[in-house]
Amino acid sequence: MPFIELSNVTKTFLAGDEKYDALKGVSLGINSGEFVAVMGPSGSGKSTLLSLVGGLSKASSGVVAIDSIDLGVLGPNRLSDFRREYLGFVFQSFYLVPYLTALENVMLPLTIQPGMNGTARGMARDALSRVGLDAKAGRLPCQLSGGEQERVAIARAIVNKPALILADEPTGNLDTKTGNRVLEMLEGLHAEGRTIVMVTHSRENAERAKRIIEIRDGEVVI
């Protein structure tokens, strides 16, 4: 059974009085340990797909299951728990908390994890070391470059050792060289056995993944 499974999933949005389907009857499976790129033009539904897989929104119809857990039956708090245990997010805009240091930003997912007394700081330092930023642990986000902020975001995404990493246009705000470094990190995480789903509109970035899923007008074409 695939680690991530979407069965005939539709997501409908309301725009005023009109409805439109961001995803139309999408069915796909992603196995554990795969590095998959979801590619498509703007408005194709790729970000919507990511939000469904990440449990941030619910499908209008169909089933979204991660590790055999049907996300559609979970309430808001259970979904939060699910995200905390299974997922790490990397956003295009980094979304670092501006008043927390790099170390504190990385520690965030562990703040609400039970049984983390005394170990959270060490785990966060390890994650920052992985991305080469342990020397800048005490810096605020405004004191870091764009590439460094994205690396802190990656460190935050992996600190709780999630099984699944979801990256939404992780190189979107970065220059080519820095973007390459970020993609190399994702490849490194994949090599450790993590499942990675990366949304991108760049063919070049998509080809760094092992499989590409193309979406157009809410439907999977490849």
């Binding site: 929104s57 808001p76 295009q92 979304y95 908390v97 008043y99 562990l110 609400i112 939404d168």
Partner: protein
């Protein structure tokens, strides 16, 4: 790192916003504390003044005889030789348990006589005590008596007998001189002649006798009934009576003052609460991405509410402390200038401090609940916008 660390970090890094929030609530708390302090001080001063403004206990002989009215009370056996009070009773009054609550003791000897063919009541008084008791007395013509042969004439009596300052009053036992005429009081005093009590006792051969004693007690500190009981116990053969209307008037005045103070303080706290509410609502809007991130990484609704309410708690606690000190220090500066007519004294009140802190925290948290709950329920996709 705990959730409270997120709250504290936000407050510490956004010093301007924190200062604004603390100031807004502190000013409200400070104004409420100042209002309460000034209200309490004014209340004490007011009650002290009220307590000294007229008698609230009458001491009468407990004997039977011809009724004679004074101030609506029946004064017994004025001229029929019944048991009367004596000047020595004044010393005994000063030995009661609550003697420190006695403000003024004003003895009176009431003598009925004839002046210019009219039946007149002469009240022998201790003019110093009497004028302290009856602060509403105004001498409209002449002056207060200096020697013990001087007399003050009530307004109606002066008109009836055509008396003016400098006139002499021939009595069958002696002669008095009109020292002054009282302005209209609207009371029985308008129909009396007031003379020195010792002169009256001597000229009417009344020895040490006193018809009644008016007492002004400071009833803020003890129930008037206790003092009445003590007086009755100390003076057997006398009857001490509380003037209930006076007491109730004083208690009513105190009650209204208190209600006004509470009402205004509550209004100030509501305004402060509104400041916090709008500031927290604006803060949630400003931090919508941050809240979306918290939800994305696994924060439950309750965690987000905790973070925001913890911020509100810290701000409120600080504001309560700052506000309390503003509230107790500022009256000491402005009261002597703005309220120079009152002799206000202020005391440190630990209970007021606790109330200020508790009110501040309550107002801050109550004003933050709605924005915090709304933040906790934000749609993470909407909040993050990129997904």
């Amino acid at each position: 790192m705990k959730l409270i660390d997120i709250s504290l970090n936000n407050l510490l890094r956004k010093k301007g916003r924190t200062f604004f929030l603390v100031s807004g609530l502190a000013i409200g708390i400070g104004a409420a504390v100042a209002m309460t302090s000034v209200g309490d001080a004014m209340n004490r001063e007011f009650m002290h003044a009220l307590d000294e403004y007229g008698a609230n206990i009458f001491i009468l002989p407990a004997s039977e005889g011809l009724p004679l009215s004074y101030g609506g009370l029946t004064v017994s056996a004025v001229n029929t030789g019944g048991r009367e009070l004596a000047m020595d009773d004044i010393d005994r009054i000063r030995t009661i348990k609550n003697k420190q609550n006695i403000s003024t003791i004003a003895p009176k000897l009431l003598v009925q006589t004839e002046v210019k063919g009219e039946k007149i009541l002469i009240a022998g008084v201790d003019f110093t005590a009497e004028q302290r008791l009856k602060k509403w007395w105004r001498v409209k013509a002449g002056m207060s008596p200096r020697g013990n042969e001087g007399a003050l004439i009530g307004n109606d009596t002066a008109r009836l007998l055509h008396l003016a300052p400098g006139d002499s009053i021939t009595l069958d036992r002696g002669m008095l001189y009109v020292s002054g005429v009282l302005d209209n009081t609207g009371s029985q005093d308008d129909g009396l002649i007031f003379a020195d009590i010792k002169w009256l006792q001597q000229h009417f051969h009344r020895g040490n006798a006193v018809s009644l004693i008016e007492l002004s007690a400071l009833c803020s500190g003890c129930p008037i009934e206790d003092m009445v009981a003590q007086l009755n116990s100390t003076l057997p053969g006398a009857r001490a009576v509380a003037v209930k209307e006076t007491v109730e008037l004083k208690m009513q005045a105190m009650h209204y003052f208190h209600k006004f103070s509470i009402g205004l303080s509550a209004l100030l706290l509501i305004v402060a609460g509104l400041i916090i509410f709008f500031a927290m609502t604006a803060s949630v809007k400003e931090r919508v991405h941050e809240i979306g991130l918290f939800r994305a990484i696994g924060f439950r609704t309750g965690h987000i509410i905790q973070v925001l309410l913890a911020e509100a708690f810290v701000v409120s606690l600080l504001a309560g402390l700052v506000g309390y000190f503003i509230g107790i220090i500022s009256p000491r500066f402005f009261a002597p200038h703005l309220m120079s007519a009152y002799n206000l004294t202020f005391a440190l009140d630990p209970i007021l401090a606790v109330r200020a802190l508790a009110s501040s925290v309550l107002v801050g948290l109550a004003a933050s609940v709605y924005p915090a709950v709304r933040a906790g329920r934000l749609d993470p996709v909407e909040a993050l916008k990129t997904l």
